[in-house]
Point group: D5
């Protein structure tokens, strides 16, 4: 099942720069793993914000939560996840 | 450039059923054409609503408007389009 | 997977009374079927409104949409579905 | 009487880790007690957030407040409680 | 248990005047009955609106819903009910 | 003239506990005085929140402001005051 | 006591033109009377809208409601009235 | 003085097509006149909506209102005008 | 041109008391100057809040910004300014 | 492609004054560069706020993000970017 996930990072403007860079590098690694596992399908930046929109795949909301809370930046994230149903006109719709 | 487009259909509950079916069939045909042209990339239903979330590709907002306003149901649509920027951790990111 | 579904009925105050009663009876029958199928788990009224809050069970958002759109009053419903993840302190949590 | 209670935890991302773990353990114990007393009926996680949705049972709003304010994390909680009325189509509705 | 109930009347400006007057008279009669039964405790007008704020007393949300839905104008009402808990500094608080 | 006043206390979760207890005791004393003066008529807790809803009586908004800003917790309060007009169906309405 | 009153006129775009003109003329007459009575102190247009912001003077919210509901366009008005308290730096503040 | 004006057209989807085309043609003519008079400086479409964002120039809000209310579609417009102040980093800023 | 300006002061509850008193005195002095210059016409308190509503007069938004940003408390102010157009029924309307 | 970008600066009122002045000077320099590159077309102040509205030109949302995130104040900015489509009545519309 797919989810549309909007994430905003609540990092303080004057936060510790070294901690930020370590977390960013870890975040990118974890994102690659989640992509490799087929959990993170697409990811876009919201222009002008430290925020993203993502397309996620998970068996259910519990598995989605596990994936999201595995992100190193998780304590700073404001996350909003919406469930997506299949649409008969979806170009990439797999045959049922 | 990709856009995230959320569409809600404002069709009156007691609207004309024959008109509705004609429009729905035309809408599905137009969606297939837009998918074939590489404009409509993905489409999902919002569960429980006559509404969808879509991933659209267009050179700019003017071309996106032309695509959206070509939908037969356009006069009944409440559309909200957001611009998407590329994210370095996007799994499907094309090489730059 | 469980969903929290909030439904508001948009029936016009001066709407046809006979149509309303037929739809209400059909709605109650369909709700019983969905309960029998294990899809509708709980249902509450929002006091003072023609609205309800429900706990629904479905394999994914697509199956949830099919259940919700099978309600006879569906064209008049304003539906908002939220995905629910399991909580370790849920009293009714099944063993994993 | 049942209440739908939505709780968001406002814990600072860089908060004291030891205090957080003590509070979390105490919170889980108190939740078990409230479940054992028949006050906390169901609890779900909001995917991607440190937040939950719960179904609570209390004689009235005063008793509900006493239960909620007995939670060890209470000073950090943003709580929204809504009253629930019985619905004739509730599958688990007790005979009146 | 007390509830704070805010009610907005959604009557069309060009609605039938005779129907409106009949409903208003019936509404006032029903309000007096609910006051006599100790269900409607206080009622105020929101200045400049066809709207009111009321203090209602009911054993639970189900009884409150029964009282509210017994109002003749009920199909035109937009109702929002909030539960009230006892406050130790309430001047009219009965001894416990 | 009566006012409906909603108050939310913005006290930091890790605030000074001794200061908090002193302020709470002073707040309760001031509330009793305002009740004795006929300014604070009713007070309820919002279940699950450090917040209250109150019914206040004051000659005008200036006098109401003086009463509210005399509360010891005033610097921490988020206050929203709404004017209330008399309703002909108010059970406690004094004869005009 | 002064009130800040924001009024939006909900007149249908295709409404009856003759009725509209009669109401507008009556509205202007009633506004002049209320100004002459010292109830309507100032009135501004919200640019681009059929809406206004006004400064009203009334002994209390009940008298304000009587004034507002005496407007011929009242059934079409969406009104929001806020109470104003005196400010020590108000240039036009009368000596107390 | 410049204003940022956002306009949404509230035309009913099943509205009269001939009236719509006449109004659209008149609207375009009036827009050209306002552009020629230096009142309408820029105009953009909101992609996917019958809505626009515009940059308008007028001596004050009264003159802006006169310009906006001279639009043939005015009764169907939902307009929101915001005042703009000069910014020292504005590339097109005239010398003061 | 007149503007309706709503100002909320974001001063921390535990902020420095001496700094606060100095700023308040300076703010009152500056308000008197702006009143003397015919820029600040009226000022009201929002009851229960450290907030005010004001009627300001300035040639345009740039001059209004200069006046507002000259307030000593400016860095702590949350300001919302709305343009006001003349209304034909304004009691204090100067002849045009 | 043009974008309408609204920016609010979240600088703490008691923030470091020297850091603020350095950042402001750097911000103005960067704005001039972006104007020289044809990326920043227009910039206005929101009266009474440390906020601006700007008209930006960029090939797509990715390039817009690069420009916005190159601003020295970027970590303190709350940015909202909206895509703009061409309007046939835009006075400055280039021939297509």
């Amino acid at each position: 099942m797919e989810f549309l996930v909007e994430i905003e990072v609540r990092w303080p403007p004057n936060g510790d720069q070294a901690q930020k860079e370590l977390l960013l590098a870890a975040e990118a690694r974890r994102a690659r793993e989640l992509a490799g596992d087929g959990v993170l399908l697409r990811l876009w930046r919201v222009p002008g914000r430290w925020a993203n929109v993502g397309l996620w795949e998970a068996p259910d909301a519990t598995a989605l939560h596990d994936a999201l809370s595995s992100l190193p930046l998780y304590p700073w994230l404001d996350v909003r996840a919406r469930p997506l149903a299949r649409h008969p006109s979806d170009p990439h719709r797999a045959p049922s």
